[in-house]
């Protein structure tokens, strides 16, 4: 996944590319992050897409597959891939057209990787059950000590 996102970041001359799930959890990141608050960014991206999705329903559209915000210097393109969001942050070094074309191509690869990961996760989950089955009350209490 990191290589697909990294390649997309280079190919569309983006500042950064994020893969975020629809609940606002960051899955993967590549690019110039600097001191950007990624947790807040992911949460707001998810909220943004959720709101846009509901607006689509209200006007009789099933969904908006992508969302664009264009600023004076920085812009954001979000492509919805199933349960995930591919977020491209770009500036004047790139163009919306280029980002759209490259992101669409990458989205097929991302979707395939996510499908495989979902399958792997089922098997992994069964094997990992014991990790959390052993959490004790003391473990939990220690978090608030």
């Amino acid at each position: 996944m990191k290589s697909v996102i990294g390649r997309l970041c280079v190919e569309c001359a983006a500042r950064a590319v994020f893969l975020v799930d629809r609940d606002g959890q960051t899955i993967a990141v590549h690019g110039e992050i600097g001191d950007m608050d990624m947790t807040s960014f992911a949460s707001l991206a998810a909220g943004n897409v959720a709101a846009t999705h509901s607006m689509a329903k209200l006007i009789g559209e099933n969904a908006f597959p992508s969302v664009v915000h264009e600023g004076e210097r920085e812009s954001i393109f979000i492509s919805v891939i199933g349960r995930s969001l591919l977020v491209v942050v770009f500036d004047e070094r790139s163009t919306l057209g280029l980002v759209k074309i490259r992101a669409k191509k990458a989205s097929y690869e991302v979707a395939a990787i996510l499908d495989d990961a979902a399958e792997d996760s089922k098997a992994f989950h069964i094997a990992q059950d014991s990790v959390f089955a052993d959490i004790s009350d003391d473990d939990i209490d220690s978090l608030f000590a």
Partner: protein, 194 residues
């Protein structure tokens, strides 16, 4: 659903503060934010109107430490309490792991509490959740005000199951962390079953 990243050994949980308008949901988050060490928290994001009423949500990430080698991070959200913003409330409940219902203890807000609680059950159900099965705590806020309903009466009216009930004065911080601990404990306990 709790997001577990085995590669980076992180557990991410989403907790939503729900309740009627002006019951103190944002005040709860503000107190947690103000009382937490810088390294344990992210920014408090508040999408509010010009008059400081929550428009979409408030959000803050909070790191509590590690459990069994996994870093635990709680994503705390509030919903807009005003009846008008129901569509936003539905969206924020997506992916929720635990809910805190913040009730306003004042006598004149009893109807608003009941309406909001009913709205919570309905919106959870639209998202495929059942309040009876979800980690859930009830906070009775504003206990310092003169016109409050006795705790037993309020709990009797608002309690939905055997959820823990906490008295609070969010503006001074009383009961805020007990409430958070109450719901966080249930969320982490759920992991045992996952």
């Amino acid at each position: 659903m709790t997001f577990i990243n085995y590669a980076s050994r992180e557990i991410n949980c989403k907790i939503v503060y729900y309740g009627p308008g002006l019951c103190g949901k944002t005040t709860n988050l503000q107190h947690i934010y103000d009382s937490t060490a810088q390294e344990a928290k992210g920014k408090l994001i508040s999408l509010a109107t010009e008059t400081d009423r929550t428009l979409f949500f408030d959000f803050m990430p909070l790191e509590l430490g590690t459990v069994r080698g996994f870093k635990t991070r709680f994503h705390l959200y509030t919903v807009p309490g005003q009846v008008y913003y129901d569509a936003s409330r539905k969206l924020i409940l997506k992916g929720v792991d635990g809910v805190v219902f913040v009730a306003d203890s004042q006598e004149e807000r009893m109807d608003a509490n009941i309406e909001s609680l009913y709205n919570l059950e309905e919106n959870l159900s639209t998202q495929g959740y059942d309040l009876m099965k979800l980690p859930y705590v009830l906070q009775l806020n504003k206990r310092d005000l003169p016109n409050v309903i006795p705790m037993e009466d309020l709990a009797f009216e608002l309690r939905k199951k055997d959820e823990p009930v906490f008295e609070a004065v969010a503006s001074t911080g009383t009961g805020v962390f007990d409430t958070l601990k109450g719901v966080a404990k249930q969320v982490l306990t759920e992991l045992r079953k996952s």
